[in-house]
Amino acid sequence: GSSRPFHKYETDNVFLRSSASAARGSVGGEEREGGDDDLKILDMVVFRFHQYQVVGRALPSAIDEHPKIYRMKLWATNEVRAKSKFWYFLRKLKKVKKSNGQVLAINEIFERKPTKIKNYGIWLRYQSRTGYHNMYKEYRDTTLNGAVEQMYNEMASRHRVRYHCIQIIKTATIPSKLCKRESTKQFHDSKIKFPLVFKKVRPPSRKLKTTYKASRPNLFM
């Protein structure tokens, strides 16, 4: 069937895996170096938001034997919510509801190169206390899920906007030349160098944490 993307989501190739095979790999998908399995993996961040591709269409009926198939990429904490969000958006765009439609496929999309640092630009639409606004934000991260998570955290802290009031319009990987924000551009330095000015050394595990300490901490790196 024809799948016409009605939302222009990020156009760079995304590595797609079915949810079943995803369960075999680990969360977020890390790079296996030359099939070497005794290489350790750094504390893999468990992403709160996963990226899903949901494909659905209206149910075939007498009027329309082959309804158009629509595909959408969205972020949700789990698959159930992803499907729900899919219908939410689709309802607003086409005359179809969950009750007279069907989801054909839902796959989780993983990061293709989770060890490469990228600049992500996120276009969003959010609802503030007084109305709807559009925004463009930039984040520097290794994975798109990480950048989206950063975005949700930042929106919550800076604008007091919660998850359900934010709609992601578009995400894209931005080449360094086209970044707009100074706070991401300042890391585009191949000879970057800065000291860690304020360094509190913490106990290596939470078990060794104590309320009182005998001496004041040495904050110098």
Partner: protein
């Protein structure tokens, strides 16, 4: 907002000139990110007490989390809080600076090198030996040894300490006698 700020008035005049960039109109008066050359000159001009910098090639020690005790190399900086970090026995990954302690060792690598390049660079810089001979590294080895002692070993340590204490006291007694006499 993640910028390494230095107050303008604290800067040496020559350094200030080096930093100020007429093309930079959008930065609300804050300083442009400092290139490494400027940081070096700052460090000398201001006598900044920082000797260990977060930079590509800096060897760091992981001090928190699952990877505790591992030596890693910073291969790139993601943002103000995180670095991309790599090590011969590890898949390249990100880590927060709060989990790292910078060491004195720095190796010469390009930004985000291939694993092989990284291993070669670590060999030429002789990171392993430098680390094990440094006082920090030696302390860690001793700590590990102490933690892995069994009861018999601890008994032997106790005897050795008593013996050493006895020898010291003997010498001290000799010196005292010589002093009195």
């Amino acid at each position: 907002q993640g910028r390494f700020r230095i107050s303008h008035h604290a800067l040496d005049r020559t350094v200030r000139e080096a930093i100020s960039n007429p093309n930079d109109h959008k930065t609300l008066g804050a300083l442009r990110p400092l290139s490494s050359a400027v940081v070096e000159s700052l460090s000398l001009a201001l006598k900044m007490p920082f000797k260990r910098y977060v930079e590509i090639g800096r060897v760091a020690f992981v001090t928190y989390g699952k990877e505790y005790g591992r030596l890693v190399v910073i291969v790139d900086v993601i943002d103000q809080n995180r670095a991309l970090v790599d090590s011969p026995e590890m898949v390249r990954g990100q880590i927060n600076f709060k989990r790292l302690s910078l060491t004195d060792i720095k190796i010469d690598i390009p930004r985000v090198p291939k694993k092989k390049t990284l291993i070669d660079a670590m060999e030429t810089a002789d990171v392993k030996n430098k680390w094990e001979n440094s006082s920090w590294g030696r302390k860690l080895i001793v700590q590990k040894r102490r933690a892995s002692l069994n009861d018999f070993d601890r008994f032997k340590v106790m005897l050795a300490k008593i013996k050493r204490g006895g020898a010291i006291r003997q010498e001290l007694a000799k010196l005292k006698k010589a002093d009195v006499a």
